[in-house]
């Protein structure tokens, strides 16, 4: 509140941020106005408005890097001055805004032709452009309240992109997406309120005099915020919507979902980390006087292991401080995400689904960067640099992949990689873009992925060193994380080569159709795709330019980061031998995996055939299965009955309905009688009925579904414990 006012006062006012938000909305209005009658106007309105927005964001970035953060008073949603929807852009936000607007620009080129396939084009344009407004809004704010508003808007608008086809598959994906968005949004809201309680305001940089508290509330706030952003970021185990939603959406929308929207989640996580890192010194620790230590103002949280090692009494057991613990958790969440995503991407056959899992996996890298930043504190510029670099890289190569996949779909009407093959002859330009993106994501030197992965690897190594220096138990775990990082990089190489091989280079399979009339994708689609491929190339060939001109200026604007580290990063020799040789190990692993998988049968055990690339895991190993059953179990608590499980055809709604028939009877008849007809009689009747129901129906049901019920009970117990913890504070 007061902090917000202070930061708003400090920043210069500028009309660029609202202009950037307004342009896509204007484009949306124009597209809606043009409609189906003037399709060309509609398409070019989108291209022009996104292009203009890109220009404005570029100007904004330059301005912000030159003169510090800017703000603009929007005057909407003003809750009595304490909370208000206000725009404010700092370097990190402008950076994210830049790549988002590039991607939208490229995607709108792609849309010019791609949408010929689709129904309801005007609606698509409308919501695509409105989503850009909301997404830019997410990046252009300086407090959690405004962030939440834009974040929710973005999530709900993107729902329309996911459900666009209105096919059964798209609807199922959209249902799942919506459920997770709503729950994620509420988790975010809970986190923000706890943060409010914790810091007394919602600004990203709480003022020094705000009442910082420590302890479980802080941790809980972090958990809620992390979960809320993690849903959008596709963090394991909250990623389940992503592999369904991305393939279901039209390709340009997939590119945007994958390239930008999940980055908004990552952005939220890094914002959270930076906010908690910038904890004011005077209120830092219970110990008070240990604030000033060798590692700079920001690392006082990490002071527990510094000169005053005994200072952090509360954390003496682990030796880690709160933010470090957050970092450690995020590092491991990142590792889990990248590893799971890689494994699942390896066994897919649908191109877009593979790409979606690949997005999950790449988000793991990005989370790793955020985790390293948080773990390293002031020294975390390597982690933050890797994070930023990988964000923009992923936007480029994953956007390029999805747009190219859109081209493939446009021409071949096919997305099963095993039914394609030999396409490089027919669609050479698309193939070229694809290969550039593929080499980029693999981390081959001279392409962009190499740079960011190198930075991330350095960051992990630094984290390991730090942990080792201060004798943290985490040291070994971080070493393990590094190993998994390398393995995952190998796996990435394997699944990307698999996909590239089957789509473009393998012999066409007889099952596949097409071939005859296949030709290169329409020009405007290629323009969109190659725009991104050029980005891949540029980022890879000239890492120094990117680092010095973009990444390090952004880093140096982050308060509290050690400037020596930033300098070091700016002048890092990316293509040194030490870095280059790091690629060899993943390459070897990838080659091995690819060779193994490409054989149709890895080995045969009796009748069980193991085929690595076509592995089908039982459904209970998926996270969805557990979510679904937990939801059903919690419903079962409403009324234990066989029918709860009887007709689960339409998911939860159907289940709820069958519960309804019971409850309606119970309530309409018994409750009302209880309330105003014949209360006493009804009460005794109700008791009897409940007892009969328990004896006849519930007991067998309990026996049959004890597993689910136990899980529900567990969930309830966890929830209750959380509440109790909160009550005890």
């Amino acid at each position: 509140m007061s902090g917000h006012a202070a930061s708003a006062a400090a920043a210069a006012s500028s009309t660029l941020p609202p202009l950037a938000l307004l342009l896509p909305s204007l484009g949306a209005a124009a597209a809606a106005w043009a409609g189906e009658r003037r399709p060309r106007v509609r398409g070019w309105a989108a291209v022009l408005s996104t292009g203009a927005a890109f220009g404005v964001v570029l100007a904004l970035l330059v301005r912000v890097l030159d003169g510090g953060a800017v703000s603009f008073h929007l005057g909407l949603l003003d809750l009595g001055g304490s909370f208000l929807l206000d725009l404010g852009v700092d370097a990190v936000g402008a950076f994210f805004g830049l790549f988002a607007s590039i991607l939208w620009f490229a995607a709108s080129f792609h849309c010019l032709r791609y949408l010929e396939h689709e129904e309801r084009r005007t609606r698509f344009y409308l919501f695509m452009l409105l989503t850009e407004t909301a997404t830019l809004g997410v990046f252009f704010v300086q407090d959690f309240f405004s962030l939440f508003v834009f974040f929710e808007a973005m999530g709900l608008l993107a729902y329309m992109l996911v459900i666009h086809n209105e096919s059964e598959k798209a609807r199922a994906a959209a249902r799942k997406y919506l459920a997770m968005t709503v729950v994620g949004g509420l988790s975010l809201l809970g986190g923000i309120w706890l943060f409010l309680y914790y810091s007394g305001g919602v600004a990203f940089s709480p003022s020094a005099e705000s009442a910082w508290t420590t302890g479980p509330v802080k941790a809980l706030a972090l958990v809620f915020l992390l979960a809320g952003f993690g849903v959008k970021a596709g963090m394991v185990p909250l990623h389940v919507w992503l592999p369904d939603a991305h393939p279901a959406a039209p390709s340009p929308a997939s590119a945007l979902l994958s390239g930008v929207m999940i980055k908004a989640g990552a952005y939220g996580i890094i914002r959270t980390a930076l906010t908690f890192l910038s904890q004011p010194a005077s209120h830092g620790m219970e110990g008070g006087g240990h604030a000033v230590l060798g590692r700079g103002a920001l690392s006082l949280i990490a002071s527990g292991h510094g000169a005053g090692g005994e200072a952090a009494a509360g954390h003496a057991a682990s030796g880690m401080t709160g933010v470090q613990a957050l970092g450690f958790a995020v590092i491991w969440l990142g590792i889990a995400t990248m590893f799971t995503g890689m494994l699942l991407a390896l066994v897919q056959s649908d191109v877009k689904r593979t790409l979606a899992y690949s997005s999950v996996s790449q988000m793991g890298y990005i989370l790793l960067g955020a985790g390293c930043l948080s773990f390293l504190g002031a020294e975390g510029s390597m982690g933050m640099g890797g994070f930023l670099y990988h964000v923009i890289n992923h936007a480029f190569f994953k956007g390029c992949f999805f747009l190219a996949a859109g081209s493939l779909l446009f021409r071949s009407h096919e997305l099963d990689m095993y039914r394609m093959g030999g396409l490089w002859r027919k669609m050479p330009l698309t193939c070229l873009c694809w290969c550039l993106a593929a080499l980029g994501i693999m981390g081959i030197p001279l392409l962009n992925g190499f740079v960011s992965k190198t930075l991330l690897h350095h960051a992990v190594v630094e984290a390991h060193h730090l942990a080792g220096e201060s004798h943290l138990w985490a040291s070994g775990w971080i070493k393990l994380a590094e190993i998994l990082f390398i393995v995952t990089s190998g796996g990435t190489i394997a699944y990307i080569s698999k996909m590239t091989y089957y789509v473009f280079f393998a012999r066409p399979t007889e099952g596949g159709h097409h071939q005859g009339d296949l030709r290169e994708a329409p020009a405007w689609m290629v323009v969109g795709t190659s725009l991104l491929a050029l980005g891949v190339l540029f980022n890879g060939l000239l890492p120094g330019v990117m680092l010095r001109k973009l990444v390090t200026p952004v880093l140096s604007s982050v308060p509290g980061l050690d400037q020596h580290g930033v300098e070091h990063l700016a002048h890092m020799a990316v293509f040194s031998w030490a870095n280059l040789k790091e690629v060899l190990l993943p390459l070897l692993i990838g080659a091995a995996l690819f060779t193994l998988g490409a054989r149709r049968e890895l080995f045969r055990l009796k009748r069980v055939r193991l085929d690595l690339f076509r592995l089908r895991l039982p459904s209970w190993m998926g996270v969805d299965w557990w979510y679904l059953h937990a939801a059903r179990a919690s419903l079962a608590f409403l009324y234990i009955g066989r029918r709860v499980y009887g007709d689960a055809e339409d998911g939860l709604v159907k289940t709820a309905r069958s519960v309804a028939s019971r409850l309606v009877r119970l309530v309409r008849v018994d409750m009302k009688r209880l309330l105003w007809y014949r209360p006493m009689e009804a009460a005794s009747g109700l008791c009897g009925e409940v007892w009969t129901a328990l004896r006849r129906r519930a007991l067998p049901a309990v026996r049959e579904y004890q597993g689910d019920l136990a899980m529900g009970a567990l969930a309830l117990a966890v929830a209750l414990t959380l509440f109790l913890i909160m009550r005890l504070l």
């Binding site: 809750l79 009595g80 909370f83 939440f148 809201l189 409010l196 309804a660 409850l663 409750m671």
Partner: protein, 495 residues
């Protein structure tokens, strides 16, 4: 103050007297009833909004009108402070819209000979709510509550259908004893203080005499108004009455009548009994627990309904719980949220029922399943519903979000994390039942045999629905126009 001085009494009595004129019109000129009623309500609305020019949320800035010129403890006082004015403007505007909506709808549902009675009762209902909200005298509040109650019983039954009569009778059978309880509470309050004026009562109660009688009277008040407000264990009449009544009446009942009762509770809590702190703190805990149970119960029941209007009715139970929970938390933020939710609930629930009425008017579709694919033929109605649904769920930038934000902020600030969790779960439930309907309307193909031919609802029905749903949007995005003042008013109530 000038002429503004007389506005409060005119706001109340103009619709009241117009209602009385209706029977005289009934024989020859029944067509005139609706325009006359609309003129009366418009006059009230205009006068109410003009009052914003003189009433601000400050301790000494309210309009006190002494009927007949008698000073308060002896005469009756009408007292409009900012919170009251806020409520009055919600009542006026929503009633006016529902009245406009009625014209088409009633011509179909109510037989011609009864239309005059419908409009007469409608005006009586609106005027009674206005009088009930504005009065500063507890017995006068009872009188207006009775006008309100009698007219709403009859309006539920006005179609004369079997189920409607039964629902109305249930409503009466719960409502009449609750009125008697309120009267008993007033008698007890009078016995221990000797006064009926709210402000005077507050002074007298501060003396702390006869605390047991005062406590008992507060309990009876809560029970009495609890039935009228459909607080959780006393909500039995609501789902039937709200779902079976003609849709504009459902909108009035759900959007305003229950709200007015909650507002009365709020007044009693803070203006009358506030000084008798023991009584209030003792009952507010209980109120909080039941309200929280109501939020969850109403939400779950709404999810489980098949009938569209029944779903909305249970959603009302849930949202009244929101407001009551906010009142029970007793701090400035939560109270601001509760006041703002009164506005949001009036707009959003009104819009819900008006949309449901449009489907009934056009197609006679009442079940949620029948709404599959509705957006193909009635896109504007569906869109109005969708916008209001965003507000019911509490998604920014609607007014529902603003009130929810304040309510949860209040519960966190008051250390009641459990209540914050209840609000969150209530939102999840709201999302479940609202988004399901939206999903059905927009993304599912229609059931065979439905939605063939036909078109959008008539303009006279669409306009009120859209005004309400845009209202939720504007009162959210442009909340700064009023939220600061509402917050000050809430702070004033607490003081």
């Amino acid at each position: 103050m000038g002429a503004y001085r007389h506005f409060p009494i005119l706001i109340i009595t103009v619709p009241l007297v117009t209602a009385v004129l209706m029977p005289a019109l009934s024989h020859r000129r029944e067509r005139l009833c609706m325009p006359l009623a609309a003129a009366a309500l418009s006059a009230s609305t205009v006068l109410t909004f003009l009052l914003y020019r003189v009433i601000r949320p400050a301790a000494d800035c309210f309009l006190s009108y002494r009927l007949g010129g008698w000073e308060p403890p002896w005469g009756i006082e009408i007292k409009v402070d900012f919170a009251g004015l806020f409520m009055l403007s919600v009542i006026c505007s929503v009633s006016l819209l529902c009245l406009v909506y009625s014209r088409k709808y009633i011509s179909k549902e109510v037989e011609p000979g009864k239309a005059f009675a419908y409009y007469s009762l409608f005006l009586l209902l609106s005027a009674a709510m206005l009088g009930f909200t504005a009065t500063g005298d507890v017995f006068n509040m009872f009188v207006f509550m009775e006008i309100l109650a009698l007219s709403s019983y009859a309006l539920v039954a006005v179609t004369g259908r079997r189920d409607a009569v039964r629902a109305a009778f249930k409503y009466l059978l719960m409502g009449a004893p609750s009125s008697i309880m309120v009267l008993l509470a007033i008698a007890l309050l009078y016995s221990s203080t000797g006064s009926l004026n709210m402000a005077h009562l507050k002074e007298l109660l501060a003396e702390g005499a006869y605390s047991r009688v005062v406590f008992a009277s507060l309990v009876f008040m809560i029970m009495g108004f609890g039935v009228k407000a459909a607080l959780f264990p006393l909500h039995g009449w609501l789902p039937d009455a709200h779902s079976i009544a003609p849709s504009p009446i459902s909108a009035m009942l759900s959007g305003l009548v229950v709200e007015v009762a909650v507002f009365a509770l709020l007044r009693l809590f803070f203006t009358v009994y506030g000084a008798a702190s023991g009584a209030v703190s003792g009952t507010s805990e209980a109120l909080g627990v039941t309200a929280a149970a109501g939020v969850l119960f109403g939400g779950v029941m709404a999810v489980l309904q098949k009938d569209f209007k029944m779903m909305i009715a249970y959603s009302t139970v849930s949202h009244i719980g929101y407001i009551a929970l906010g009142i029970s938390i007793m701090n400035e933020q939560a109270l601001t949220g509760a006041l703002y939710h009164l506005l949001d609930h009036g707009l959003a629930k009104g819009c819900f029922f008006l949309c449901a009425g449009a489907f009934i008017y056009e197609r006679d579709y009442r079940r949620i399943e029948q709404l599959k694919g509705a957006s193909r033929r009635m896109p504007l109605t569906c869109a109005a519903f969708a916008v209001a649904a965003l507000s019911v769920i509490g998604i920014p930038p609607t007014s529902g979000f603003i009130s929810k934000w304040y309510l949860i902020w209040g519960s966190v600030a008051g250390g009641k994390y459990l209540y914050a969790a209840v609000y969150l779960i209530g939102s999840i439930l709201a999302a479940t039942y609202c988004l399901r309907v939206i999903y059905y309307m927009f993304f599912l193909p229609p059931q065979p045999g439905t939605w063939e031919g036909g078109g959008e609802a008539p303009v006279l029905m669409l306009v009120p629905a859209w005004v309400l749903s845009l209202g939720t949007l504007l009162m959210g995005a442009l909340s700064f126009v009023i939220i600061g003042r509402v917050q000050e008013a809430a702070g004033l109530l607490l003081r």
